[in-house]
């Protein structure tokens, strides 16, 4: 059998899995079989790109998320309230049941003062304190994006703000959705699973198997070129990017079959190597991102 066509038997199921879960969760909420849970979205030390990625979600989109799936109680990027009123909305959540989504790393330098996310009762609230306080009481904690899952770019050498991932400051299990940014489906699919069935099946590093089970390399549409030893020598070619430094062989995630931004494209289809943004160790252990012949360079 040609390896190019030897696709995983779960291929079709995985393609539609996130969408199916989301539709089912919404139906159950509408039939009142399921309670709409509260969602708190914390942005910490990072680029706030995961909330933008979430806004790029197609099915569901933000409108569906906030009207059909959850009560979104806090988001620095989106909420109408500001200042004290915003902080009250955040801090009063402690009395209720909620799911906590966190993007961005946790800056620990000088007790966290390198990232202040608001001011509560006159005192600055550090990202460190906020994530500890809210993480402890949350029903589930979802870390999304490389910075939240393991420090990511915010913790890149020499890590000037002493950033760590969310797990490093919490004693409970943190579901991890690495990626730079996290794909909207990885988040909403995980969220829908929690709403319907509780925590999804996770691997040893607490990533949902639903999305993170298989290496990019194993499902890469350019795998046939790799097997035949046909390698691109520069960006923009349509063969295997392995010698340009592609991290597909070490990165477990479903980009090749899911794709990005309304499922229109993804880095390898854009004739560039995967830079391993969904793998632990990104960015430091995934660099250099672009080399012109890795078999030649030391």
């Amino acid at each position: 059998m040609n390896k190019d066509t030897a696709v995983c038997p779960e291929y079709a199921a995985r393609l539609s899995s996130a969408g199916d879960l989301i539709r089912k969760a919404s139906n159950e909420i509408q039939r009142k079989n399921l309670e709409k849970k509260n969602l708190v979205w914390l942005e910490l030390t990072g680029c706030s790109g995961n909330i933008i990625s979430m806004l790029n979600g197609a099915n569901p989109d933000l409108k569906y998320l906030i009207t059909q799936m959850v009560n979104m109680k806090y988001s620095n990027s989106l909420m109408a309230a500001e200042g004290e009123a915003a902080m009250e909305q955040l801090m009063n959540i402690g009395m209720e049941d909620y799911i906590l989504a966190v993007e961005g790393a946790v800056s620990t330098k000088e007790n966290g003062i390198y990232n202040i996310i608001g001011r509560w009762k006159g005192e600055p609230l550090t990202a460190l304190k906020a994530v500890k306080l809210l993480g402890e009481k949350a029903a589930h904690v979802i870390a999304l994006g490389a910075c939240a899952t393991h420090g990511g770019v915010s913790a890149a050498m020499p890590n000037p703000a002493d950033c760590v991932g969310v797990q490093a400051v919490l004693d409970k299990k943190v579901i991890k959705l690495p990626g730079c940014p996290c794909h909207p489906d990885w988040f909403t699919g995980t969220l829908a699973h929690i709403l319907l069935y509780g925590e999804p099946e996770l691997d040893q590093k607490d990533r949902p198997l639903l999305f993170y089970s298989t290496l990019i390399h194993d499902r890469c549409p350019r795998r046939a070129f790799f097997d035949k030893g046909i390698f691109a020598t520069k960006l923009g070619e349509n063969t295997c990017m392995f010698k340009l430094g592609c991290r597909g062989p070490v990165t477990r995630v479903d980009c090749p079959i899911r794709k990005w931004n309304d499922y229109v494209n993804w880095p390898i289809q854009d004739d560039t190597p995967c830079i391993g943004c969904a793998q632990f160790g990104f960015p430091d252990r995934m660099e250099p991102f672009i080399s012109y012949n890795t078999t030649r360079e030391g």
Partner: protein
């Protein structure tokens, strides 16, 4: 007696900001804006491979990542002596244009509209903290429905970006020589198709909506002026065959417009938490060190200056300098200029798409120079962005980034306050318990604190005093 108003967090911006304003007789007599986030990208970049800067620096910002890919690519091209082909420039600028559309749609509807329009009740996300909503219900509800429509449109702007850029945020397309992939006919027609949908939305919804808001908030033409000096590094300009489609590198100082000269940029750190460069340095000269023990400092945003003066950058500066919009400089003019710019950019992209030749490859095998330096200056969604790189032994030896939000939210120097600080001062506050004016003024600049700040440490915050005069 003066009272102090503190707003933190300033929501609906990218990143974290605190506004402190001193109020006397119902008027702001002094104000500071502080960024509350530190990561230290310039330090992280040292020792990395130069090509990696294009993907690495995008992680500075989730809403304007393409901006950083543009500036870092231009800096690398300057260092390497690479001149991109015109087709390469068109392709790259189309990707950049997609980011403008995405950003301006999101900033107007998702970040600005909730300040002026009451969104549907029953959703915690939309719970308002003030009562200053002036639109008649019918007009209010039309714009509120466009808020939801804008979610689709801004998403589609990023879909366009991904057609050539692979994904967004943090694209893979912008690179030395132009872009990585080739624009095949199916991609070009997809881009044209989405662009026509977005263009219709901007013309039929977004432009009328901003003027509806302006009609009911006329007082916002009177506040938020700022320093009045405008600056642009230029963008969508100087094409060999097409000329300048938008704006050339220009500055306006005290009412007179001149050609921008990069040698005039000096960054100062007199009142910022850094050692080195207090009295000013050129971008290539030094990288500063954090210093939390500096007594006179009050913020971590540095102070870029042009010939010693603060400047406003962004859509209003560009619209003004290009002659597209010259109604005035204020909170409302800034908001209108952003919307009109979305329309302008859609038109520019239409022209660029029309001039694309399908299937052109613009990539080569590039060598990292052993020793080189280069600057990449370009106007991006929020304004003038510069990256300055030095390469030594084939690795990054120096990196300097001056962002648009550093221009707009800079600290003071020699008694000259930053642009946004000046915009806040003099504002009449209607209700001291609900100072909605301050957030509106600051948001009109579209601050990106993720971009602007490098360090935060707690300054000498005074306790909030609520004493009415």
């Amino acid at each position: 007696m003066a009272s102090r108003i503190i707003i933190n967090p300033v929501t609906r911006i990218s990143g974290f900001m605190e506004i402190q304003a001193l109020i006397e007789d119902g008027k702001v007599i002094d104000a500071i804006t502080e960024g509350l986030l530190f990561r230290g990208f310039e330090k992280m970049l040292l020792g990395r491979k130069p090509f990696d800067a294009v993907y690495f620096t995008q992680r500075i910002c989730g809403i304007c990542s393409t901006a950083h890919s543009m500036a870092s690519t231009l800096a690398l091209e300057a260092a390497m002596g690479v001149v991109p082909s015109e087709q390469g420039r068109y392709l790259r600028d189309i990707i950049h244009g997609c980011e403008f559309l995405q950003n301006h749609l999101r900033h107007f509807y998702q970040y600005t509209v909730p300040d002026y329009v009451r969104l549907p009740e029953g959703y915690p996300l939309f719970a308002a903290d003030h009562e200053d909503f002036r639109l008649p219900k019918e007009k209010n509800d039309i714009i509120a429905s466009h808020y939801f429509d804008s979610l689709d449109l801004s998403r589609q702007a990023h879909e366009m970006l991904a057609v050539l850029g692979g994904k967004a945020p943090h694209n893979h397309g912008v690179f030395i020589g132009g872009i990585t992939t080739q624009a095949t006919t199916d991609k070009i027609i997809k881009l044209k198709s989405i662009l026509s949908i977005i263009t219709n939305f901007i013309e039929d919804r977004m432009v009328p909506d901003v003027f509806t808001i302006a009609e009911y908030y006329q007082d916002y033409y009177q506040n938020g002026r700022g320093c009045g000096n405008l600056l642009s590094y230029g963008c969508f300009n100087g094409y060999k065959d097409l000329g300048t489609l938008y704006v050339d590198p220009l500055v306006q100082t005290d009412g007179s417009v001149q050609v921008f000269d990069p040698a005039g940029i000096v960054e100062e750190t007199q009142f910022a938490w850094y050692s080195g460069g207090e009295s000013g340095y050129m971008p290539f000269e030094i990288m500063t060190e954090e210093n939390t023990a500096k007594p006179e400092a009050y913020s971590w945003i540095k102070a870029p200056r042009y010939n010693g003066l603060p400047y406003e950058v962004g859509p209003l500066a560009r619209q003004w300098l290009s002659g597209e919009y010259r109604n005035g400089i204020s909170t409302m003019d800034r908001t209108i200029a952003r919307v009109l710019e979305a329309k302008k950019i859609a038109g520019v992209m239409h022209t660029l798409l029309k001039n694309l030749i399908p299937d052109v490859s613009v990539q080569s095998i590039y060598e990292v120079p052993q020793v080189a330096e280069g600057a990449g200056l370009i106007d991006t969604t929020r304004g003038a962005l510069g990256h300055w790189i030095k390469i030594n032994d084939g690795a990054i030896a120096f990196y300097q980034i001056i962002t648009p939000s550093a221009w707009n939210f800079s600290t003071r120097t020699n008694g000259l306050k930053g642009s946004a600080e000046q915009a806040l001062i003099g504002t009449r506050i209607g209700n001291l318990n609900s100072p909605v004016e301050l957030g509106r003024i600051v948001r009109s600049f579209d601050p990106c604190v993720s971009c602007a700040t490098h360090v935060y440490a707690e300054g000498r915050h005074l306790k909030t005093i609520k004493v009415m005069s």
